[in-house]
C-alpha cells in the first residue's frame, strides 16, 4: 500500500513539473466533470493525442465529483493566469460556471463547451457535443421498429439519471420518447407525458446499483414491462441484473446511450438491444484542433447545420439491424468504443 502511494505521489509530482518545461507551446486547457468516469478519461486521451500531434501543451483539470463547480472555476482561473489560448470544458454546472467563462473570454481565450452545453449556450464560443436528443431518438425509433405492432401496447420503464433534470438526462429521455412515437409535450421536462405506455420513471445515478434497484421497483409496479430505456450502459447492466433475477431477460428490450466498451460488449451478448454511441475521443480531438486553429488564424468554429452546436456524431450500435436504419454491429462498435 505504501509503495503504491509512493508511486502515486511520484506520478503526481511528475505531472506537476512537466508543463513548466513546455512553456513556449500553445497552451490549451481541458476541464472535465470528473477524472473517474471512463467517458472523461477517454476525452482526455483524445485531447492529449491531438495536442501531441499539433505540438500543443495540454493542461487537464477536473472536478472531484459530478456537480463540482468550485474546482472547475478554479481551473478556469488557473488557465487564464497561465496564458492559455483556449479552454475545453465539460461543465458540471452549466449555469453557475458562466461568470468564470465570461472572464476567460474577456481575457481573449476561446472557450468550447464539450459534451454539455452551457446555459445559455452562447456563453461559450462553441459547443462540441453529442446530439443527445438524436441519440435518444435513434434508440426510441429502433425499439418501436423492433416491436412492430406490439409497440402500440408496449410497457415502458424509464431509468433516468437523477432528480435534478440536467440537460443530458432530459434530452435523451425526451428523444427516446419522441423516437418511440410518444407525445412529449414540453421537451425540456421529464415526466409530463400522459401516454399510458409509460409505466414509470426512476433514477439510477447512472450506476449499476441504482439501475438494479430502480428496475426492481418498477417491475413491482408493473410486472409486464417490456421496454427499458436507460440513461447509460452501467444503469442498463444493473437493470439487466434485476430482469435476470425476475427471469425476464428474453422478452424485455433494453436500450441505452453511451458506447462504452463494456456497453458494446453487452450489445454483443444480448444484454442491451441497441445503444447510441457517442465519441468523446473525437469530441476532445476536434476541440483541441479548433483551439489550434484559433490560436493561429483567429477563426472560431461554426456550428453544424441546423443545430446550435458542433455535432461530434452519434451512431446506433446493434446486432439486430433494421431496414432503413443506419447502424453498426457490436463487432464494428468494439473498434470505436471508449472506456
Amino acid at each position: 500500500m505504501k509503495f503504491k502511494a509512493g508511486l502515486l505521489a511520484l506520478a503526481v509530482s511528475a505531472s506537476l513539473i512537466s508543463p513548466l518545461t513546455l512553456a513556449d507551446k500553445v497552451v490549451v486547457g481541458l476541464i472535465t466533470k470528473t477524472n473517474t468516469n471512463p467517458f472523461f478519461v477517454k476525452m482526455r486521451e483524445g485531447a492529449q493525442q491531438q495536442a501531441d500531434e499539433l505540438g500543443m501543451d495540454l493542461r487537464t483539470f477536473s472536478g472531484r465529483f459530478d456537480g463540482d463547480n468550485e474546482s472547475q472555476v478554479q481551473a478556469i482561473e488557473n488557465l487564464i493566469a497561465s496564458g492559455a489560448k483556449g479552454i475545453l470544458i465539460a461543465p458540471s454546472d452549466p449555469v453557475a460556471v458562466v461568470p468564470a467563462i465570461d472572464r476567460a473570454r474577456e481575457a481573449g481565450l476561446l472557450v468550447i463547451a464539450l459534451d454539455t452545453p452551457l446555459s445559455p449556450a452562447d456563453a461559450a464560443d462553441a459547443t462540441f457535443a453529442t446530439d443527445n436528443y438524436k441519440a435518444g431518438v435513434l434508440i426510441g425509433m429502433w425499439a418501436a421498429e423492433q416491436l412492430g405492432d406490439k409497440a402500440a401496447d408496449a410497457k415502458i420503464a424509464m431509468l433516468n439519471l437523477n432528480s435534478s433534470m440536467i440537460t443530458v438526462d432530459v434530452a435523451r429521455n425526451q428523444g427516446f420518447l419522441e423516437g418511440f412515437g410518444i407525445e412529449v409535450f414540453d421537451p425540456n421536462r421529464i415526466g409530463d407525458e400522459n401516454d399510458p405506455r409509460i409505466v414509470g420513471q426512476d433514477v439510477t445515478q447512472g450506476a449499476e446499483e441504482g439501475g438494479r434497484t430502480a428496475m426492481e421497483n418498477l417491475l413491482q409496479r408493473e410486472p409486464g414491462i417490456n421496454v427499458v430505456y436507460t440513461i447509460n450502459e452501467p444503469a442498463a447492466a444493473g437493470a439487466y441484473e434485476a430482469l435476470k433475477a425476475a427471469g425476464r431477460t428474453d422478452d424485455v428490450l433494453i436500450v441505452s446511450v453511451d458506447g462504452g466498451c463494456p456497453g458494446v460488449e453487452n450489445v454483443r451478448d444480448g444484454v442491451i438491444g441497441a445503444t447510441s454511441m457517442q465519441f468523446p475521443l473525437r469530441m476532445a480531438a476536434m476541440g483541441v484542433e479548433a483551439i489550434y486553429e484559433f490560436a493561429n488564424t483567429g477563426k472560431k468554429p461554426d456550428a453544424s447545420e441546423g443545430l446550435d452546436f458542433v455535432n461530434t456524431g452519434v451512431e446506433l450500435i446493434t446486432d439486430q439491424p433494421l431496414p432503413g436504419f443506419d447502424s453498426k454491429s457490436s463487432k464494428d462498435g468494439m473498434d470505436l468504443c471508449w472506456g
Binding site: N162, G200, Q205, A207, E208, E209, G238, P262, E265
Partner: protein
C-alpha cells in the same frame, strides 16, 4: 438487552410520591404529564431500537395502505431486503466505528477498492476465485488497519483520517481498475463464486439472496460479539468514555484498532455482496455508500457521540430507508420526495438521540 423492569425508575417513583404528598389537588394534571414524558424517555433510553422499530412498522403500515397488497407481498419484502444488503453490511462496519465515537467516511471506498481487487485478481490475474476473494478480504482488513493505525498511533481524528483515506482508497481503486468495468458475463465465466451472493433461494414466495442472508448472519455475529464477549463491552466502554475505560484497565488503542480492522474486513464482505448484486465490478460503484451507511446507523438510533446504540438498530435503519424508497417508488412518487423524506428522518433521528441522551 431488554430490561422492561428498568421502567420503574426511582425518579418516576419520586414524582408519584410528590404527587401523593401534595394531596392530589395540586396541579395533578401537570405532574401526570411529566411522569408520562419521563417514562417515555426512560423507555427509549433503555431500548435504543424501540423508536426506529416503531417508525419501521408505521412506514410498512402506511405504505401497505397507500400502495396496496403488492407492497406487503413476501416477494416485495424480500426485494427490500435485497436492496438494503449493501448499505446494511456497510452499516455494520459503520456502527462499530460510531460506537467508538468515531466516523468512517472510507467504508464505500474500501468496498469498491476490494471489489475491484476481487474482480481483477480472478479475471485479469487469473487466480482461483476463492483466492481472489480471500485477497480481497485481506485488502479490506489492511485498509481498516491503516485507518486504525492513523487513529490510534498518530492520534488523528477519525473524521479526518477517513476523509483522507477515502480519497486515497478511491484513487487506488481508479488506478488499479484503470477506470474499467468488468462485465457480469466475464465474471460468470471466470469467477462464478463472486456471483454467489447474488443467487437466491425461494421461501414462501420470498426470494432471499445469499447476499442478504450473509448480511443477516453478519448482524447476528456482530450482535453476539458486542453483547456476549468482553471485546464488545470494551467497544462500548471505549466509545462511552475512553479515559474511564483506560483507568478500568482496557487497552483502548487495541480495541480501536481491532474495530477498524473488523470494519475494513466487513466492508470487503460488502464488496462481495456488491458484486453479486450488480453483477459487474465497477470502479464507479458505491459513490454515496459512506453517507448512506451513516444514514442507516443514525436512523437506527445509534448515537454519533459513541457508546450508545444497538447493532440491530442499524438493520432497522437500513430497512426504513429501503421501505421508504421502495414504497414511494411503488406509489409513483417523484424521487425528490424520497430524498426529502430520508432527510427528515435523519434530522428526527438525531433530534431523538439528543433528547434520549439527556438523563
Amino acid at each position: 438487552m431488554s430490561q422492561p423492569d428498568t421502567l420503574k425508575t426511582s425518579q418516576a417513583a419520586d414524582h408519584e410520591l410528590v404527587a401523593a404528598a401534595a394531596g392530589g389537588n395540586f396541579a395533578s394534571f401537570e405532574v401526570e404529564k411529566v411522569a408520562f414524558k419521563d417514562k417515555l424517555h426512560r423507555f427509549f433510553h433503555s431500548h435504543p431500537t424501540a423508536a426506529p422499530t416503531i417508525v419501521l412498522l408505521l412506514a410498512i403500515l402506511a405504505f401497505s395502505s397507500i400502495v396496496g397488497e403488492r407492497f406487503l407481498q413476501p416477494f416485495n419484502m424480500s426485494l427490500i431486503l435485497q436492496q438494503v444488503t449493501i448499505i446494511g453490511i456497510l452499516g455494520i462496519a459503520q456502527t462499530l466505528i460510531i460506537l467508538t465515537a468515531g466516523i468512517d467516511l472510507s467504508v464505500g471506498a474500501i468496498m469498491v477498492l476490494t471489489s475491484v481487487v476481487m474482480g481483477r485478481m480472478s479475471i485479469e490475474v487469473g487466480l482461483p476465485p476463492s483466492a481472489a476473494l480471500a485477497i480481497g478480504l485481506l485488502v479490506g482488513a489492511l485498509a481498516g488497519f491503516i485507518n486504525g493505525q492513523l487513529v490510534t498511533r498518530f492520534r488523528l481524528p477519525p473524521f479526518i483520517v477517513t476523509l483522507g483515506t477515502w480519497n486515497i482508497f478511491f484513487a487506488l481503486n481508479l488506478w488499479y481498475s484503470k477506470s474499467e468495468t468488468i462485465r457480469s458475463q466475464a465474471i460468470d465465466q471466470a469467477a462464478p463464486l463472486l456471483h454467489w451472493t447474488g443467487k437466491t433461494v425461494e421461501l414462501f414466495g420470498a426470494k432471499l439472496s445469499y447476499g442478504s442472508l450473509l448480511m443477516l448472519a453478519l448482524f447476528f455475529i456482530v450482535w453476539y460479539a458486542l453483547n456476549w464477549t468482553a471485546w464488545g463491552r470494551h467497544v462500548y466502554a471505549t466509545g462511552d468514555d475512553p479515559a474511564a475505560a483506560r483507568l478500568a484497565g482496557i487497552r483502548t488503542d487495541r480495541v480501536l484498532l481491532s474495530v477498524y480492522v473488523a470494519a475494513g474486513f466487513i466492508c470487503a464482505i460488502g464488496a462481495w455482496a456488491l458484486i453479486g448484486r450488480i453483477g459487474s465490478v465497477s470502479p464507479q460503484a458505491g459513490m454515496t455508500a459512506n453517507l448512506d451507511s451513516i444514514t442507516a446507523v443514525v436512523i437506527g438510533g445509534c448515537s454519533l457521540f459513541g457508546g450508545r446504540g444497538a447493532i440491530f438498530g442499524t438493520l432497522i435503519g437500513a430497512l426504513i430507508v429501503g421501505v421508504f424508497r421502495n414504497g414511494l417508488a411503488l406509489a409513483g412518487v417523484d424521487v425528490l420526495w424520497q430524498e426529502f423524506t430520508i432527510g427528515v428522518l435523519i434530522i428526527v433521528a438525531v433530534g431523538m438521540d439528543q433528547w434520549i441522551r439527556k438523563v
